[in-house]
């Protein structure tokens, strides 16, 4: 019985493993394992021009398939990531990059969040400082006020004693 369960478990694990690997990669024979990893990672970073929110590996569209195979071929031909990205952007524009380049026109994109964070922090800081100052001011009473307060307290105590 135990053997049967162990066998079934192994089978399930093996089958699951196969399902995980059933990506379009299987149709292409890479020269080496490193090439495959590099190519697939790169294709994940490139966006399909047709079905706009999928990367080249996820998408089933013919364009994505062509581009994906092109990336694989170029990796196997020993081209660097930069060369491949250059190849893609010279044809399909910066649109295909999921991670935009750091350029003057993308500065807002890259630095905007930090600027907003700074603004937020500045505003928060201002509020906190204001709140700290306000109670301090109200605590320092003028001498006359203090006298008046003392008298009032005395009176109320006198009333209580009665």
């Amino acid at each position: 019985m135990r053997v049967v369960i162990a066998f079934l478990l192994t089978l399930t694990i093996l089958l699951c493993g196969q399902v995980v690997h059933a990506t379009p990669v299987d149709t292409y024979e890479f020269k080496s394992m490193e090439n495959q990893q590099r190519a697939v990672a790169l294709a994940h970073e490139l966006r399909c021009p047709q079905c706009q929110n999928q990367d080249l590996v996820d998408s089933n569209s013919p364009v994505a398939r062509d581009l994906r195979l092109e990336v694989y071929k170029m990796v196997d031909a020993g081209q660097s990531d930069d060369e491949i990205v250059q190849f893609m952007t010279s044809r399909y524009g910066d649109f295909v990059l999921y991670k935009p380049k750091l350029e003057s026109k993308t500065m807002v994109l890259w630095l905007g969040p930090f600027a907003l964070l700074l603004i937020g922090l500045a505003i928060g800081f201002m509020f906190i400082r204001k709140q700290r100052i306000v109670p301090e001011q109200s605590q320092t009473l003028s001498k006359e006020d203090q006298k008046q307060l003392d008298e009032l307290l005395k009176q109320s105590r006198a009333n209580e004693d009665k």
Binding site: P49, Q50, Q52, P62, V63, D66, L67, E70, T89, S90, R91, Y92, G93, D94, F95
Partner: protein
């Protein structure tokens, strides 16, 4: 001064609102072509009509032309076809077809049935020229100037509205430019 500071959030909100409002009317499917201003990629491919005859990017030079990427499997191309036929009859400019990832026999049969608006057809069976052009879906049309430089890309079927509003004015301007170049 202090009161002005209080208006900063409102100003930020208005600026963002303006951008987002504009974003509502943008078409995210419309991509800018990376090839505008660049020469047509070099190619040497068979013509669709005759496998023995080759056509290259040099053949596109000399005249302002329209390069139209199409295929028989593409429904929008069928929609566009009658307009291209009308255009061909006007003889304003040569229309070159790029038969993109298609079968020769199917494409030729399509011409027999529906007519052939093209001056010549490039048979791009494996889609290599399409890839070099940055084609992401047929039909796509490129305006190529007399020096063989891509000046404009239009993705989607051409109809009389797009033609009259966008493409024709641009073509007329380029043809003027070409005639100036030739006379000088």
């Amino acid at each position: 001064m202090k009161k002005l500071v209080l208006f900063i959030p409102l100003a930020l909100f208005l600026v963002m609102g303006a951008f987002l409002y504009k974003g509502l009317y943008l078409n995210p499917q419309k991509l800018e072509s990376a090839l505008e201003g660049k020469p047509v990629p070099t190619f040497e491919l068979e013509t669709l009509e005759d496998p023995k005859k080759m056509i290259t990017n040099e053949d596109l030079k000399g005249e302002v032309s329209l390069l139209n990427v199409w295929a028989t499997w593409c429904p929008s191309c069928k929609y566009e076809h009658p307009f291209l036929m009308r255009l061909a009859r006007q003889k304003l400019l040569p229309i070159y077809g790029v038969n993109y990832r298609d079968e020769r026999a199917l494409a030729l049969r399509e011409f027999m049935r529906e007519g052939d608006p093209y001056t010549a057809n490039i048979y791009d069976k494996d889609g290599r020229l399409g890839l070099d052009l940055g084609v992401y879906g047929a039909p796509e049309s490129y305006i190529v100037d007399h020096n063989g430089v891509i000046r404009f890309r239009y993705a989607g079927p051409i109809d009389s509205k797009v033609w009259a509003e966008t493409l024709l004015p641009m073509i007329e301007e380029l043809q003027l430019e070409a005639s100036k170049d030739q006379s000088s």
